[in-house]
Assembly symmetry: C2
Homo-oligomer: 251 residues x 2
Amino acid sequence: MQVSLAETIQPLAPDSRLPRYQQLRDRLAALIADGTLRPGEALPSETAIAADHGLAPGTVRKAIDLLEQAGLVERQQGRGTFVRRADFAHSLFRFFRHTGPDGAVLKPEGRLLSRRRQRAGKTEAARLAVAPGTELLHLRRLRLAGGRPLLYERIWLEAARFAPLAELPLAEWDDLLYPLYERACGRLVARARDTLGTARADRETARMLGVEPGEVVIEIARVAFGYDGRPLEYRVSRGPAEAFSYSVEIR
Amino acid sequence: MQVSLAETIQPLAPDSRLPRYQQLRDRLAALIADGTLRPGEALPSETAIAADHGLAPGTVRKAIDLLEQAGLVERQQGRGTFVRRADFAHSLFRFFRHTGPDGAVLKPEGRLLSRRRQRAGKTEAARLAVAPGTELLHLRRLRLAGGRPLLYERIWLEAARFAPLAELPLAEWDDLLYPLYERACGRLVARARDTLGTARADRETARMLGVEPGEVVIEIARVAFGYDGRPLEYRVSRGPAEAFSYSVEIR
DNA sequence: AAGTGGTCTAGACCACCTA
DNA sequence: AGGTGGTCTAGACCACTTG
């Protein structure tokens, strides 16, 4: 009795010390994280959620406000609230100038250079939060804009979670990897953290990017995370210094 | 009659088509912009604002939510809501590693190298939104962390708005400029936009930063804006490429 | 026409800070 | 003790999208 009553009155309770709108936010975020609510899918209406949980509409509204601010959902007036699909299409290119002389945005391309299995070293293991020695899939890739090489990328994935990629025919590789991760492996990227720095071009990087060996290049180390918050991909991208350009707003 | 009635019922009305909470936000933002409410000062309480404007407390609350999200005010439970003072103390250093071998944050220093009057060229005029030829104050400055040069800066200010700086004894120049702008000239910086890129070190830059001439350095072009949205300062800072490090969260 | 999110009201009570 | 912001309720009406 006690249990069902508690569920009727307050079916949230991951941490009852928190305000109810935060409990509801966490509950909805968990549904998104575990795939119960998939990207593009609609949440129940605010009134429906309110009725289900015995909350006032205003409380539900505030919970969804937070999800929207966190970038997990998107409201559309008159239609509903939808789980947001992260769009990383040009996320690395945004660090570099990639417009032609006429100002038009150049079409980005992605070419897979190599694919092989590899055991995780210390760095990759730390970034992917796996044990050193774990079997990984290692990709090398060149990204171009308007035919000019803009990024030389090395990518590490946990082999067990991306098994289909090891066999995928080269013809089926796309210009963009994240849609491929979803299509072939059901792995969704929710967010990523990019760390910018510089490096000296080794012989291979220099050849790929068309710069002098030893020259300074921009290096972007990225860890991409799934909706469950676990690292999915570790990627190190390098691009020519003179194409680098990035703006930040400071408050 | 019509006018006073309208003022009683709806004393906001910068644009009556907008929701009331947005009108109220704009009204409060204007009070901050024109200095009626100074940084550190408290806003009237939410209930007082509601009573003054004939609004429900919830509507006032939403307006202040927006101001808080925009970074203009800061709420403190039990105390009140205060106009936020932007803190740029380490804002440029955050693009560079500046911790010692033990991980301790190194004390930043600022040294004024030169100060002179100059007429605005095309670039400075565009960035500061003044006419070319306008008289400017030009500063050159070196910033150090733990005694190592980290940034060589060139700064342009509209002379008419920063007159006291032209005469200020060198002994009174601080490590940080923005507090000085406020103290000496009453000019407050509200936000800034930094654009990162690279450049080749000319002889002077190379000597200042201790790198080879022709070497790639990181260049940060900043325009700082006042609370009224007008540009206050244009600044170009250069730092050694190998100390560059910056993280961004992507969604 | 029906359903959705968007705006707005008018309260109640709580948690926190200051004095 | 009194005032502040923080949470929550229970509605009303509007604007927009879709069938």
